[in-house]
């Protein structure tokens, strides 16, 4: 009896013990739901479904625009606009507070993260048995993105470390050093050449709009050569700081020596683009309207845009503050400056200061370049079936400290990129793809390069295309306001102004003033807006008022490499004028 009892007890106890160890043997001891390496690079998937998802992820590294820098446009630091809110991070570029830790658009880590993802894709995609018809464009597209990310670094910092196809592992030595501007430029352009014939051609089919085409590769090449030929990188650099000359001589902050033949490469690249496709055409009138370039996903003036889901964020962020959509108040974050508004000619193509332009200071928005109304909300422009009111005390500039502490600082709000809501009562979802490359830019690149090599009249021909499309009247001798016998220097100013207004708020101006090295004149000193008073008889009086001040230092031509990177990498040289230790 006693023995039986022991046996029974031991039996139970041993069963428990057996349970303790045997039940470890589950079928799934390691999670198989994870997307592991062998699933992503599935050697049996003819369609490469997971690899495609990884490929899609690389597309998310394409740069974006609009209200992306702390809620503001990058262009709010270019002199074209100022932020309506106070103390925003974008102001660091214009109030002297920029440093290696306060740069709101460092972009450094983001680029290298994208580059890593591209390199992983290139290193592994050949394991997946996808048909060449799919795989070859895939590889070319991710290489384009990589080249584009290097370009984004180049325009911010000058020469940067090139890592080729390397995928770093945890134990690699990460103390890289910077390549020269020349090497960086050559890498980007050689990649464009290497992939251009593997990419899909234009026009791309409707359900692939947004994918990279040959046109984009040629446009990137053209833009890269443009930056390489421009004063900043073409032997200009930043020189007024300790050690700056050595960095220039080493070719890191610019080509060591200026060479104006670099403009020829811009011309060749632009001509290669124009020769490539008959798809991209610029209309010969303002029809369809200028604003439709930005709201039609597929059109013959857009080469590449960052695709997003349709939305009306842009309208909510930037519309004048009294507009309420579905009970959400618009924020009016961007206040275009008076100097930007004044940069628009009248519809004759003549600057407002020129005689015969037809400009009337008492009615300043009448008879202007049609692009003005498509770019800026000014007092009286119709929106939601009423005129925008930016006069003092008007609906959109109430000076009401309780209900509306944010309002325009300049008397203007940003209108560009929005759909036409002049006769609507609420916003609807719009296509808000940020345009990365469009035809007008290539034409303007071409015009600029032609002018620089003194082919002035050839440049005028290109400029006319832009003005005609904008809706400026043909005028004397069909020159669209460009005077006969214009000099190279005069045309340079005109081209620069045209770029400013045509490509406004598309993140060109911020970099253009740097590459032309005109920062100290373009984004320095007082900023003006207009103070509008509504008179008793219903007319308005306009008064130019200072609304701010901008500071620009020479070192800002090249942005500071983030502090964290400099302290961790002993071989990484900081740009001149920024933190001094290396």
């Amino acid at each position: 009896m006693k023995i039986n009892n022991i046996k029974l007890t031991l039996f139970i106890l041993l069963s428990v013990l057996a349970g303790t160890f045997s039940s470890c043997k589950r079928t799934e001891i390691e999670p198989r739901d994870l997307n592991t390496e062998d699933i992503i690079w599935d050697e049996t998937d003819q369609l490469g479904r997971k690899a495609e998802a990884y490929f899609n992820n690389i597309y998310t590294y394409l740069p974006n625009g609009f209200n992306r820098v702390g809620g503001d446009f990058l262009d709010a630091a270019s002199g074209d606009a100022i932020p309506s809110r106070n103390n925003t991070s974008i102001e660091n570029y214009t109030n002297g507070r920029l440093s290696d830790i306060t740069n709101p658009d460092a972009y450094w880590g983001q680029s290298y993260s994208g580059i890593r993802h591209v390199n992983i894709f290139l290193a592994n995609i050949d394991k997946v048995p996808v048909a060449d018809a799919i795989k070859v464009p895939w590889k070319a597209e991710v290489r384009f993105i990589r080249a584009f990310l290097y370009f984004e670094l180049l325009k911010r910092y000058g020469g940067v470390p090139l890592i080729g196809d390397k995928v770093f592992t945890l134990n690699d030595n990460m103390e890289l050093s910077r390549n020269t501007v020349e090497e960086t430029v050559n890498y980007i352009t050689s990649e464009c050449d290497a992939i251009k014939n593997d990419l899909k051609t234009d026009p791309i089919i409707d359900n692939l709009v947004g994918r990279i085409t040959k046109g984009a590769a040629l446009a990137l090449k053209c833009r890269t050569y443009l930056y390489a030929a421009s004063p900043l990188l073409n032997g200009g650099a930043v020189t007024n700081y300790t050690g700056a000359q050595a960095l220039k001589t080493a070719g890191i902050t610019s080509y060591p020596v200026q060479d104006d033949t670099r403009w020829q490469k811009v011309i060749q690249a632009a001509e290669e683009f124009f020769a490539y496709s008959t798809y991209f055409v610029i209309p010969t009138s303002n029809n369809p309207a200028y604003y439709t370039i930005f709201t039609n996903k597929k059109n013959a003036e857009v080469i590449l845009a960052k695709q997003v889901a349709n939305n009306f964020d842009l309208e909510i962020n930037n519309s004048p503050v009294s507009y309420i959509n579905n009970n959400t108040a618009a924020q009016g974050r961007t206040s275009p400056t008076q100097s930007f508004v004044d940069a628009f000619p009248t519809n004759t193509g003549l600057a407002i200061s020129e005689t015969g332009s037809g400009y009337n200071a008492a009615n300043p928005y009448a008879n202007r370049d049609p692009r003005l109304a498509a770019t800026v909300f000014y007092n009286g422009l119709t929106w939601f079936k009423r005129g925008v009111e930016t006069f003092e005390g008007g609906l959109d500039k109430k000076n009401d400290p309780i209900a509306q502490p944010v309002q325009t600082k300049t008397g203007y709000y940003l209108r560009k990129f929005m759909g036409d809501f002049s006769n609507s009562t609420s916003f609807s979802n719009q296509s808000h793809n940020f345009i990365l490359f469009r035809l007008a830019e290539v034409i303007l690149n071409y015009a600029e390069a032609l002018n620089e090599v003194n082919r002035v009249e050839d440049a005028v021909t290109q400029l006319i295309k832009i003005r005609r499309r904008a809706g400026i009247t043909a005028g004397v001798a069909n020159r669209y306001g460009i005077k006969a016998g214009i000099t190279q220097s005069e045309l340079r100013d005109l081209i620069r102004n045209e770029r400013r207004i045509e490509l406004a708020f598309e993140e060109h101006r911020f970099w253009d003033v740097r590459r032309w090295k005109i920062g100290s004149s373009a984004i320095s000193g007082p900023v003006y807006g207009t103070k509008i008073t509504k008179n008793a008889n219903g007319t308005y009086s306009y008064e130019k008022v200072q609304v701010g001040n901008m500071v620009f230092e020479e070192k800002q031509y090249l942005l500071p490499i983030p502090y964290d990177e400099i302290v961790k990498d002993g071989n990484l040289k900081q740009n001149p004028g920024w933190s001094e230790f290396n």
Binding site: T36, Y54, N57, N86, L176, V527, K568
Partner: protein, 956 residues
Amino acid sequence: MRNRFILFKLFLILTPCLSSEISFAQKRDNTLQADTSARQDTATKYLQLLYNKTARHLTAASTDAVYTKDLVKSQVTNVYNAVTGRLSGVLTNQSSGMPSADGLSGVSLSLRGRNPLVLVDGIPRSLLSISLEDIESVTVLKDALATAMLGVRGANGALVITTRKGAPGKQVISFTAQTAIQKPLDMPQPLGAYDYARLRNEAVDNELKVNPNFNGTALRYSDADILAYQNETDPIGHPNVNWKDQVLRKSSKFNRYNLNATGGSKYAQYFIALEHLSQQGLLKTNDANPYNTNNDIKSYMARANVDINIKPNLTAGIYVMGRLINGNTPGVSTSTVAADNTASSIFSNIWATPNNAYPVFNSDGSLGGVSQFTNNIWAQATASGYRLSYTRDLLSDFYLKRTLNEITPGLFIKARASYSANVLEDINRSKPFVVYQQQTATNGDITYKSYNTLADQANLNSIRNQGRGDYLELSLGYNRVFNSTHGFDILLLANRDNTASGPDLPYTITGGSGKFSYNFKEKYVAEFAFGLNGSNRYPDHGNTKYGFFPAGGLAWNIDKEDFLSGSSAISSLKLFTSYGITGWDNPGYFSYIKRWNSGSNAYFGTSAGAFGSLAEQINNPDITWEKAKKFNLGLQGSVLNHALGFSIEYYNNKYYDLLMQRGKTIAFFGNSYPNQNIGKNRYSGFAFQLSLNKNVGKNFNYFVSADASIQNSKVLFMDEVNQPYSWMTRTGQMVGQAFGYIATGLFQSQSEIDNGGKNNAAAATFIGYTPQPGDIRYKDLNEDGIINQLDVAPIGSTKPTLIGGVNLGFRFKSFDFSALLQGVANRFVDLRGNAYFEFQNNGSGQAYENHLNRWTPQTAATATYPRLSIGNNVNNQQPFSTYWYKNGDYVRLKNLEIGYTLPAVALKVIKLNSLRLFVNGLNLATFTGLDGVDPEVNRGAYPIQKLYNFGVNVKL
């Protein structure tokens, strides 16, 4: 209130029936009254360790314990708060007082600088809001020896909670009813509308002086506005609403009822308990609602711990606990985990909304609001519907123990199995609300502008969390003393702890452990313990990897030596030490596997179709557990017939292979670095304890016990970058040392700013900033004339943390009194954020009474706050500096209790064994240098509360 009274009455009526029913099974005598306290006294001599009890003097391990009678003095919902100040070396911090389903909202616990493992009856548990009356003891295991059997989970120490069990003897039924009034501790006082408008105009003027880009016209109040605020003539257009008073109650209720019974025969022993607890939230409600919108918690718990002696040599036990927690919150939601966060969203809005933002109601009774503030706070609290949460927990433990005296006396074998399950369900019945901005035109017409969209009330339920766990254990023990000389206590144990949450694969720790304890005449004690276990989350392929974690200890009971045995002065004296290697398992979810996670969508096509994307997540293929080498040395004793006790301990723990991201992470790598086993930290310190317990005559007894710990830490390695200046170096500083700027006061005049000496270093400022009188001045450590990241140095305390508690009390005849003080020193708090600064959010934020002490040229000498500004001023508010990092030392009167026990004569009349009335208070007083801020709770968070509690305990 009424319900509670009825319940109590009912109880009193039932009492005689119950007591007569059970009286046949027991003889009532005078000793019964002392029954529970006597048991606790035994318990204090015997110490609950991980898996077994031992006499205090027969272990070399470092421990401390607290027992039922002290735990139940605190009217709180979780164990952490009940042990505050009562356990040596343990530091708790409660950063929020919000009633929450798990009772753990905002509560943290640290032991010798690390977060310990918590076990209930020997099984690791995360559930901590178990009824305090169910707890026999909470033991803290501090050194390597005490936790060695935990193996890979032992390095951070452990908190062992033991539930009450029955014992053969008289049945004792105990009923306790308590009701408390809760009042929130320190909250900031907002500025009235007039002061707000006046100060904001001053701030606008200040901004315009330095910032030409500042838009002042939009923010400036007109003189007419200021006058309207001053006279309060226009409650709609110029309102003055104190949101705190508008939305929060002055006090709320907290009730607890506990009924338990313990007793047993030689065949079976039991402890059973029922508890109901209800805690009311701080929000006001609207009677017009047919439902409750306050953030209340109600819980119901039941426990049955039954031990059965099946045969003289075979014992079985079944311990079951079930718990329901029903939570209620307003419907407004800012987070996916809505139920816990709704109240906090209301709180952050209270501190972010100025008094003059909008009226609560417009003149037509509709809810007020403006485009800047579309979340009417009153509506958030009362008109946004409601959400319910239901938590259900089940814990069940079983064991079978067979003594094997027939093989050799003292040998036994024991098997245990446990199962637990929990589910948390959310019910969402929230609804949006519309607010209206009332505007009066010049001709007197009133118009309304609306914000927010009206929609149907939601009717959704979802499971927020579901988990389950099982635990199996088999142990073999041997416990015997030979010839009153050689004492052996040996335990060998194998166990498997398996927990799973949601759909994830279970986390399983499997292994064996053992403990060998030998003593010679109870004089010399030698102990060795080990854990050999591991988890299933390490390479390769999810197979369990085992680590071996040994520890040893020696103790010398000096009082048992011949040369002291005759001494009457020394009652006990033990010298003890231990050393061991322990582990800490922190593997993440199979983080050694490289995987691709969902990234943001890509869009292609003219219809902008979304395409899924996958992004690489880097793994650490070499991940392993963290480790620590721990040394402990202590002396513990008592004199004067145990009346005066003392102990002193020293520890030195070196943690290594700590998982952290390397310091030299670099962006070229292109992805975030995984955690790697690279960190090395040292934690060391001293602990002192002193206790006095004395009977003075028959009727008076008093006790005082005090403990203090000095806790130091040091970063030994963190793969730090080469800092340009020595003061920036983190390595060698304390773990978690704060780094910031050193503020040297406010600039008092322009001449101070202009005459900064070499490089203007004495008046250095941030790049691009023009300092003004009234701005904070910082120390330019590298004297380059610029304040930047190179001037960041250790700030706040760099001294070891000092924590302590004093527990004192007396019993005089039928009265008893006790008090608990708890304090922390060398502690700093960061007083920054929306609820501290003025006019945040581009000027639309709130301001507080302490801003009245701002710097102005007139108040320069007495100002305690920099000149006012709008938003985050680059010089004054953005930087983390000593100006805002303030000493947060405090001493709290954590607990105070006065009790009255009815004399035996009176008890006979009402046929009860014991009746005790008591009054106690929690957090009654706090002594701190901070003004208007609680040292534990950030401003703007849900405040912790002061409680006044009244209760009665009846035993029969």
